[in-house]
Amino acid sequence: MTYRLVRASIATATLIASAQAADAHIVASRLGDFYTGALHPLTDLQDLILWVAMGVLAGSLGASKGRWLVLAFPLGLLAGLVLGRTTGFVSAGPVADAGMILVLGLLLAAAPRIPTAPLGVIAFGLAVMRGAANAGDVGSDTNRLLFAAGLACVGYAAITLTMAVTLAFRRPDAGASMAWRGIAIRAFGGWIAAIGLMMVGFAFASHSL
């Protein structure tokens, strides 16, 4: 076993020593715009917080309610992207974004039984908002179809994975011994709501300056 460890260490050291920056020409093949669309929201803290909060909220409500979001969320992102490109509606503004973080956090913390339809409307509305916000950074030389495909794919993957992880963590059928997991999710909601509340305050303070 130790011999295997030594071999693995030598292989790792060789790998690190010989590492070069990757110069694959995927960007030149225009597929780069797909990755631009996919990576764009993942490098934006606002998108990350909102998407994760939405996924956790849907996951905490159970698979039967959350499964519609697998379709509704990426479609909403596409609708927002189209809206942003055609009408110039790029973002609802920092107050709306912060307000959305606050609302999602409060819903998570309060843990109400949200029916499927309102949950779908919230998710679709959020996706439209964020899709439009992402449209603001689509350049004139960007392949819009590939960018949209990348954005929709990452939206699908992010919301599905977050819901799945939350469902696996929540385990509502596990009984009273696992009740702390529900409390942990609600505490997470409290954190999200706190961040949203401060950002609402900051947005108003920035406006008044």
């Binding site: 076993m1 130790t2 295997r4 460890l5 693995a8 260490s9 790792t12 790998l15 690190i16 590492a19 920056a21 990757a22 990755y35 631009t36 990576l39 764009h40 993942l42 490098t43 934006d44 803290l45 606002q46 917080i49 913390a109 950074d137 702390w180 409390i183 609600r186 505490a187 909601g189 409290g190 954190w191 709501a193 706190a194 961040i195 509340l197 401060m198 950002m199 609402v200 305050g201 900051f202 108003f204 303070a205 920035s206």
Partner: protein
């Protein structure tokens, strides 16, 4: 089993070492904002001990305080944070923050069992002052959102730390140890209070 883990660990380290940053849409100052937000509650000793004491006291009080606290405290603290962001002054913030360490430490030391509503009000008042101090720094940070995420997460983790320490009350020796810790927190609170009142340099 551990031998199986080692090669995987080595590979994971290699993957980390070879990782390149993504420059698709790097927001300005995220790392700096996050770091300053995370460090703000940790580098101020008066904040740190008060937050840990809140968690310990919540654990001593038991249900519902132990689970209401982590859910609502960040939110109440954020109200103070908003006041700080909007530059709305609070009376004697340094004195009240020092007092919070003294009072919460004394509550832990004396295993004070107040009615839940009264305990919640006491903690909420202190939370607003602590949030105000953090919120005042928010507009100056490189990335306000990242700063907000950092300080909320750091505060939540300090509570969690306090709650975990508080679970030692299940054992008689653990209970006494925690009461001793409460005395230390209260003594530090006394020191900070004297400092904020100008009695010592």
């Amino acid at each position: 089993m551990s031998f199986r883990v080692f090669p995987r660990l080595v590979i994971a380290l290699a993957a980390l070492a070879l990782a390149q940053p993504v420059f698709a849409h790097e927001q300005v100052g995220v790392t700096g904002g996050l770091a300053s937000g995370l460090l703000h509650p940790l580098t101020g000793m008066d904040h740190l001990i008060a937050m840990v004491a809140v968690g310990i006291w919540g654990a001593q009080l038991g249900a519902p305080a132990i689970w209401v606290l982590p859910i609502t405290f960040p939110l109440v603290m954020a109200i103070g944070g908003v006041l700080g962001v909007l530059r709305i002054p609070l009376p004697m913030p340094e004195v009240v923050i020092a007092l919070s360490a003294l009072v919460l430490g004394a509550a832990v030391a004396g295993r004070l069992r107040l009615p839940f509503a009264v305990a919640a009000i006491v903690v909420a008042v202190f939370a607003v002052f602590h949030g105000h101090a953090h919120g005042a720094e928010l507009p100056n940070s490189a990335n306000p959102l990242a700063y907000g995420v950092g300080f909320v997460v750091a505060t939540g983790l300090l509570h969690l730390c306090g709650i975990m320490i508080g679970t030692l009350t299940r054992w008689p020796a653990g209970g006494r140890l925690i009461q001793g810790l409460g005395v230390v927190i209260a003594a530090l609170g006394c020191y900070f209070l004297a400092q904020s009142l100008g009695a010592i340099a």
